[in-house]
């Protein structure tokens, strides 16, 4: 759905940059000389408490979390199964194919009937496959919660995997894969992950080979489902307006007799240190797509909250510089956690002639975060506020709980989130930047028209310790 992704993008002006964030504390609006008016100071914060949620575990190991909170008379029901692309093995994207085939029919209902039944409840069967999880759920009117739950349970537990649908689904998936193979961002992502994790590691993600998905059989799909779907690997989230007693009964009826399934053996995923630079040639490209990745500590490490603050401040500073210079439109940074590790990533699409200037600036900003202690007052406040906002919708609240559960974090992790963010010190942020964002640790992927900047890029001081590889982008990549 490439076009739809674009539709959301037009007109976004300066939103996700944290322009000026870092300089806030120093500038002090009220102290601007020569200015007659200053904005009113904020009042006392209103109190905030996370809505109550409750979890229980069925005897078969399935965990269910009830979140009785919602603005509108709707419900979000999501089944999260610990089965994702890290479970693909040699069969790249078998997890995706399995989930796509679930949508083709279950419990004797064909795809058309499934569509009609969910639509009559106001929703649709939504599925997503991530690196580690398969998510199957629906957003429906509150009146239909129990019926929707029963249908979703059938989807997860009783797929029919109609053989006649396989060729069509595989063909569609192959088409999407070929689209993605042309996408510079996808190219940069896979190049980075293949560098960060060794070839035999589940996180060594790549796109399926041409024709690979078409070669999967219905038995491959059945085998994946049989092995990777089970109550003991599943967390069910029920959020919105519902009668808790009746929903619990519905959960027990729908899932109580589901076998526990294979034990989850998800691997540790600790990314490799660099420094390494992968140059991917895309002749004629107007922009250079960049992924710069540094391995960092895990979400359950003592550094995690400081890393989140560092990311916001550093990402904001880089974005401010890019926008100020007019070098790029969509600079972005994020921390991605894995089990046992994490990665801080900066991504961007840079105007081709400014590639080296922009990257030089990025490394200078990173060096500044390492070498100087920045004032984090506003960043802490911003992140705490962002967290509060993120709990302001039913699905947002559900997502937060799922994040907590996906990493087995403490039950009160979210309740403590605001004070945890507010208590991170400037020195702690400086310390994690100094420890993790060193010139001997990064993986840099540069996808672009290499003839126009390669020689200058190779002599950038920040890259002098790095090993370079050069890749010609092609259909087989």
């Amino acid at each position: 759905m490439i076009a739809l992704r674009h539709l959301r993008i037009i007109g976004i002006a300066l939103a996700i940059s944290l322009t000026g964030l870092v300089s806030l504390a120093a500038s002090g609006l009220a102290d601007q000389p020569g200015r007659g008016l200053v904005p009113p100071a904020p009042g006392e914060p209103l109190p905030f408490a996370l809505p109550v949620s409750q979890s229980l575990m069925l005897e078969n190991g399935l965990t269910v979390t009830f979140i009785p909170w919602g603005l509108t008379p709707t419900m979000d029901i999501v089944v999260s199964v610990r089965a994702g692309n890290i479970d693909d093995g040699e069969q790249t994207w078998i997890a995706d194919l399995t989930t796509a085939m679930i949508e083709e029919g279950f419990a004797g209902l064909d795809r058309a009937e499934i569509g009609r039944r969910f639509a009559a409840m106001g929703g649709a069967l939504n599925t997503t496959v991530t690196q580690s999880h398969t998510l199957i759920g629906a957003h429906v009117l509150a009146d239909h919660g129990e019926d929707a739950l029963a249908l979703i349970a059938n989807a997860v537990r009783r797929p029919d995997f109609p053989p006649e649908a396989l060729a069509r689904i595989s063909a569609g998936m192959s088409r999407d894969i070929e689209l993605r193979r042309q996408d510079p961002d996808s190219l940069a992502f896979t190049t980075a992950f293949q560098s960060l994790f060794p070839p035999d590691h589940p996180f060594h993600f790549g796109l399926p080979r041409p024709g690979q998905v078409d070669g999967f059989t219905i038995n491959d799909v059945r085998d994946f489902h049989a092995a990777k779907f089970g109550a003991g690997r599943t967390h069910l989230y029920i959020a919105g307006r519902f009668d808790a007693v009746r929903m619990e009964a519905a959960v027990r009826a729908a899932f109580g007799d589901w076998p526990r399934g294979e034990r989850d053996n998800a691997p540790l995923a600790i990314p490799a240190r660099g420094p390494v630079v992968h140059l991917v040639d895309r002749p004629g490209s107007l922009q250079t797509t960049v992924h710069l990745v540094y391995p960092v500590g895990a979400i359950d490490s003592k550094d995690a909250t400081a890393l989140a603050v560092m990311d916001a401040a550093l990402g904001g500073a880089i974005a401010a510089r890019m926008r100020e210079a007019g070098w790029s439109y969509s600079p972005s940074s994020f921390v991605q956690w894995t089990r046992g590790g994490g990665m801080w990533t900066y991504t961007d699409d840079i105007d081709t002639p400014r590639t080296v200037d922009a990257l030089t600036s990025v490394f200078q900003t990173i060096a500044s975060a390492r070498e100087q202690t920045w004032n984090m007052d506003s960043t802490r406040r911003w992140l705490a506020s962002l967290f509060v906002m993120s709990t302001g919708s039913t699905y947002g609240l559900l997502e937060n709980l799922a994040l907590r559960d996906a990493f087995g974090l403490d039950h009160d992790y979210l309740d403590r989130r605001v004070p945890a963010l507010m208590s991170v010190t400037d020195r702690e942020v400086n310390a994690v930047a100094g420890a993790y964002l060193r010139d001997d640790r990064f993986t840099l992927v540069v996808v672009g028209d290499l003839d126009r900047f390669e020689s200058d890029l190779r002599v950038m001081p920040s890259l002098r310790q790095a090993q370079f590889t050069r890749i010609e982008a092609g259909p087989g990549h």
Binding site: A3, L7, I9, I10, A13, A15, L18, T19, G20, L24, S27, P39, P42, L46, Q54, S55, L56, V64, F66, P68, P73, S80, G84, A95, G115, G122, V129, T130, S132, L135, A171, M173, L179, R241, F242, A244, V245, R246, D264, A266, Q287, I299, A308, A319, G326, Y329, F334, T338, D351, S378, L383, S385, S390, T394, N400, A402, L403, D405, A406, F407
Partner: protein
């Protein structure tokens, strides 16, 4: 592997800096449970009413307030009644470029200070340009609301329009166009190329992202004239929603905005489109695409008419959701594509525009199928709606999907969907309370009206077909 709306992506509904895409493996099971049963007090309500109060200042500024204390944040949106359709000839893309300039500072908030103020108070902000409006919105902790109102008033009164900012934002916009259109396969095909081909009236048919030469030609004088003409309080709506005190908020808005003088009456522009009498065809050769694509746009009935409401239900019947007829025929039965998408006003929704509009269907399809293959199947499906009465069950299901979709729009963490509807109903209908009667128009729609509407508006002679061809196939057909 999909990366959209991942359950574990944390701030999915929010802006994505500092998000934590926790797509990681885990072997955790919840060890802490809160007892044997989900004993939360049942709260099952299927009622939903948006709190709305509507006011107008003496200078013409319309004010909409909506109180909702669920999360201690406030969302502010300022909508100006100027969009793509209003931009001057020879200055395509100017409305959007000017949106960027509004972030470049104002008399009492120098460049960067606006963002600093918002983020420093723990908020986020954004802006966008559409056919009939340009909007600016912020979400902040409620205790910072007054500062945001102050800042919006400052830039409504006196933005800093200077040459260096114009030059800088021109570069940012150029990069935005590269990212979203020129450097992307299919970039802009369905939301720029198709309306350009389908519409006859320049106001609707020009490239609203802007020809790069027009962007280069834009001058500071243009910007000042544009501001003077369109950015006046009598051409604006301000919406404040969230945890607010209505009376106090209205008093603050009066304090900050009432001294801003009203502007001259806007020049009337004729945006009407002639009735289309012949089917139109257009071709886009796309050197970056690797699969052909097809988009079809039909002119919509006039907004607010019975046929308009019927067309919104037809959109649900034909293209929205897995149960829709075109998804069933083109995707599930024929396997042309892995998804059909489309709708009314692809840059917004069926409510937030005020002028001619297209109903659009699009797909990226397998190259083994010809345009003729796809169009034959599409015609068969659409002819079904034009010639046969749809069942009451189908109509009811379409209404249910609409209602659930409306709830989904309103129940977001930022309240952007809510304030957008309130602002649109205020701006285009002078009646924001329409949000609580949003289903009214649909309740009157009968199967007969759907057939009659389809007869007139889904005529082949009322449509434009845009074909995206691969570069290698240029001229092959």
């Amino acid at each position: 592997m999909n990366f959209y709306r991942g359950l574990a992506t944390g701030f999915g509904a929010l802006l994505l800096v500092a998000c934590q895409p926790a797509s990681a493996p885990n072997d955790a099971t919840i060890s802490e449970t809160d007892g044997e049963s989900a004993a939360a007090a049942p709260e099952l309500s299927t009622s939903f009413t948006v709190d709305v109060s509507y006011h107008q200042l003496d200078n013409g500024l319309r004010v909409v307030l909506s109180e909702d204390d669920s999360v201690p944040t406030a969302t502010v949106a300022v909508y100006y009644g100027v969009g793509f359709r209003n931009e001057p000839r020879g200055r395509t893309g100017f409305a959007h470029l000017f949106e960027h300039l509004m972030f470049a500072g104002s008399e009492n908030l120098p460049h960067g200070a606006f963002d600093t103020l918002i983020y420093g108070n723990g908020g986020v902000n954004n802006g966008s340009t559409r056919y009939d409006f340009t909007n600016y919105f912020e979400v902040v902790p409620s205790n910072a609301l007054n500062a945001v109102l102050w800042a919006e008033a400052d830039r409504m009164r006196a933005p800093n329009l200077d040459e260096s900012q114009l030059d800088n934002q021109r570069e940012v916009v150029r990069n935005e166009v590269f990212v979203n259109v020129i450097n992307q396969p299919y970039g802009g095909w369905i939301w720029i190329d198709l309306p350009m081909a389908a519409n006859e009236n320049w106001h609707n048919s020009h490239n609203f992202y802007g020809d790069l030469s027009d962007l280069d030609a834009a001058s500071l004088e243009d910007a000042q004239a544009f501001f003077d003409q369109f950015y006046a309080p009598n051409n604006a709506v301000i919406v404040v929603a969230g945890a607010i005190d209505r009376d106090a908020t209205l008093a603050t808005i009066e304090q900050y905005f009432s001294a801003i003088p009203a502007g001259d009456a806007l020049p009337a522009i004729d945006t009407s489109e002639p009735r289309q009498e012949e089917e139109k065809f257009a071709v886009r050769d796309d050197p970056l695409a690797n699969q052909p694509a097809l988009a079809v746009g039909y002119h919509m009935p006039e907004r607010g008419t019975p046929e308009y409401y019927a067309m919104i239900l037809i959109d649900q019947l034909l293209v929205q959701g897995d149960d829709s007829r075109l998804n069933q025929s083109l995707v599930n039965e024929e396997g042309f594509s892995s998804g059909v998408f489309g709708g009314i006003n692809l840059l917004g929704n069926a409510f937030n525009y005020d002028g001619p509009m297209l109903w659009t269907v699009g797909m990226i399809h397998d190259s083994e199928f010809t345009v003729s293959d796809v169009m034959t199947s599409l015609d068969t499906t659409i002819e079904g709606v034009r010639t046969e009465l749809v069942s009451e069950t189908d109509v009811e299901r379409a209404r249910t999907k609409l209602l659930a979709g409306f709830y989904g729009t309103v129940d977001t963490a930022t309240r952007f969907g809510l304030v957008d509807l309130l602002a649109s109903f205020a701006m285009f209908d002078d009646d924001p309370s329409r949000i609580n009667r949003i289903t009214e128009g649909f309740e009157q729609v009968t199967p007969e009206l759907i057939r009659a509407t389809a007869q007139e508006y889904l005529r082949p002679t009322n449509r434009t077909v845009l074909e995206v061809r691969l570069a290698v196939e240029d001229g092959a057909e």
